[in-house]
């Protein structure tokens, strides 16, 4: 918002053009456009896409996927011996690079035979719905940089989050809800940078639902008066004042949008708490997500909330589970975290499937990096951005697939490596957007989510 009446923003200039074309067609078109913009209406993707929505289950801290999804017989055999390949030049901690075998074991699951750790029995049971990419990699070995790289494509500058890009491209499917919601995000390691619209218009920025488990809220959604009728009267008087003000000044799109924004906010205030409220869900659904009892209650509730938002038409919903950063105490910590995460994730995928929503909803699971096959101390693993696993389901992804591989010890992506840029290109492709054509002009050049990189990973598309 500009407090000095000066407005400059490329996407809004169309309004001025229409305004200047007089009161006839221009005024009508402007009115329709303002109504649409206020509603954030849905746009058809430029290409036929399979996915309409994304649910991103973000595992903050970096889960040890070499233990969870990528078992290595040589790592077990050579445990305690030095890592025979060259260790990365930059690591998070100093290390003797001694191999550490997994404290758990994986089994081939379902018809696909995808390997899933014994710690994750529920995810194991839906392995045939999942596509595991074992050759993920990124460029930054620190949490902040890697997290931003995963969310925005850049570990150096403030760039729009993928949820913002997708909303900018496709618009919102529900006029009363924000198009990008992030539940329980981390305030550190990039913080708001992870859901910021950066240089894209602010309406595409993520709406954070934070706070204590069970009391999570959109910022400023609660009216301190606790009286909707009184607030409605305030807004009616406000609208009347604003209309008179506008009539004196002549058509001004900025002022008109501001008037419309109060109406949208009022609608959001009515709709968001209801969509968010999982108490109306039947007991068997809560049970499916583990939202009924600990240790799955908190994350289960959040995953269930994510499904409700997604079902209501929110394009991009993110849920964050933390904190997988097991430099020490790997065994105990990963057992606890797996027990919290396994059932809600499998419950969400199964629930989407039984509702017929999985085909049009892309579910993405993963952390900002994985962990090293070498030891830190005697019960820990360091950050590993060089080779790790993420998995996906639905939205046009090929189910029951294992794609790419790491080396014999699980340190580096080896066969068919997939960088975060490639992941972004693929997500956009699934939503019907060509990542090379989809640009926004800023600071003198065109920007893309994938900037100057990224290849669509055709091998994981159904």
């Amino acid at each position: 918002m500009s407090l000095c009446g000066h407005r400059a923003g490329l996407p809004l200039s169309r309004r001025d053009m229409l305004q200047r074309s007089g009161t006839g067609f221009g005024a009508l078109a402007l009115q329709a456009m303002l109504a649409r913009e206020a509603a954030g209406s849905s746009k058809a993707p430029p290409l036929p896409g399979t996915a309409k929505r994304v649910i991103f289950l973000f595992m903050h801290g970096g889960p040890s996927t070499v233990d969870l999804f990528d078992p290595k017989p040589l790592l077990t055999r050579d445990s305690g011996k030095p890592f025979p390949l060259k260790a990365p030049r930059i690591t998070s901690h100093k290390s003797k690079n001694l191999l550490l075998k997994s404290p758990w074991s994986c089994q081939p699951r379902g018809e696909s035979g995808a390997q899933v750790c014994d710690l994750l029995p529920n995810i194991a049971s839906i392995a045939d719905d999942l596509c595991f990419v074992r050759s993920m990699n990124c460029s930054n070995s620190r949490h902040g940089g890697a997290l931003l790289e995963l969310h925005t494509g850049s570990d150096t500058f403030t760039r729009p989050s993928m949820g913002s890009w997708i909303n900018y491209g496709l618009g919102s499917e529900n006029e009363n809800l924000p198009g990008f919601i992030t539940i329980n995000p981390s305030g550190s390691h990039g913080g708001a940078g992870a859901w910021s619209s950066a240089f894209l218009p602010a309406k595409y920025s993520g709406t954070r639902i934070g706070g204590k488990s069970g009391e999570m809220k959109v910022p400023f959604i609660d009216n301190p008066l606790h009286d909707r009728g009184k607030q409605r009267k305030e807004l009616d008087l406000l609208a009347s004042f604003n209309r008179d003000h506008l009539a004196q000044r002549g058509a001004d799109s900025e002022l008109e949008s501001r008037i419309a924004s109060y109406e949208l906010a009022f609608k959001m205030q009515m709709e968001v708490p209801g969509v968010q409220d999982i108490s109306s869900e039947p007991a068997h659904i809560k049970k499916l997500y583990g939202a009924d009892i600990d240790p799955t209650k908190s994350f289960g509730e959040q995953c269930l909330m994510a499904r409700r938002f997604s079902e209501a038409g929110v394009r991009f919903v993110q849920v964050t589970h933390r904190y997988w950063d097991s430099h020490g105490n790997l065994k105990k910590e990963h057992e606890k975290l797996s027990a919290e995460m396994d059932k809600p994730v499998a419950g969400l995928v199964s629930d989407l499937k039984q509702r017929g929503l999985l085909d049009e909803t892309l579910v993405l699971w993963g952390g900002e990096f994985g962990r090293t096959p070498t030891a830190q101390g005697n019960d820990g693993r360091d950050h590993n951005p060089h080779g790790f696993t993420m998995f996906m389901a639905g939205g046009g992804i090929k189910p029951g697939t294992v794609y790419g591989s790491t080396d014999d010890y699980g340190y580096y992506a080896k066969d068919k490596p997939v960088h975060f840029h490639d992941l972004h290109a693929t997500i956009l492709h699934l939503m019907g957007i060509d990542h090379e054509e989809f640009t926004y002009r800023y600071a003198g050049r065109n920007f893309r989510l994938t900037d100057v990189a990224g290849k669509v990973v055709n091998g994981i598309i159904a």
């Binding site: 902040g144 920025s205 609660d222 305030e234 002022l255 501001r258």
Partner: protein
């Protein structure tokens, strides 16, 4: 040479405390890697690049801030307090005039005085009524946008 302890005036871990300081935002430390929620909601410039042409937006999240934030409610209550002591008579037309003159810097219209009268008559509590009316003026385009 002036010697100042590192982070004496600007501490990355004290963003919240900085934002609550009773100073104008021009005195807030700016961090390239972080920002303030209120500023972000209202299109603060990206501190990582030169920004000669500020982008502006008008979104529902900003409206929620104006409708429900503590700042708006506290300020409107405070203004209502000043109003009731400045115009002790309970004449709602006089009070409407006073508020509009003080916030918008112009005389009120007859229509506004009538609307003000009608609006506050809905309330049993006068303090609450004038705080609500002040909030409406604080949120109005005429107050928020300067020519």
């Amino acid at each position: 040479m002036l010697v100042v302890k590192t982070s004496k005036y600007a501490d990355r871990s004290q963003l919240k405390a900085h934002s609550l300081a009773p100073r104008r935002t021009v005195y807030l430390p700016v961090y390239r890697s972080a920002g303030y929620d209120g500023q972000k909601a209202f299109d603060a410039a990206d501190p990582a690049v030169p920004d000669g042409n500020r982008r502006t937006s008008t979104v529902a999240g900003q409206a929620l801030y104006l409708m429900n934030s503590e700042l708006m409610h506290e300020s409107s209550r405070a203004l209502a307090k000043i109003l009731t002591s400045s115009i002790p008579s309970q004449n709602s037309r006089d009070r409407t005039s006073w508020l509009i003159e003080h916030l918008l810097g112009r005389e009120s219209t007859e229509k506004e005085r009538l609307q003000g009268e009608k609006f506050v008559n809905n309330y049993s509590d006068q303090k609450e009524a004038w705080a609500a009316f002040a909030r409406v003026l604080f949120s109005s385009n005429e107050f928020l946008y300067v020519e």
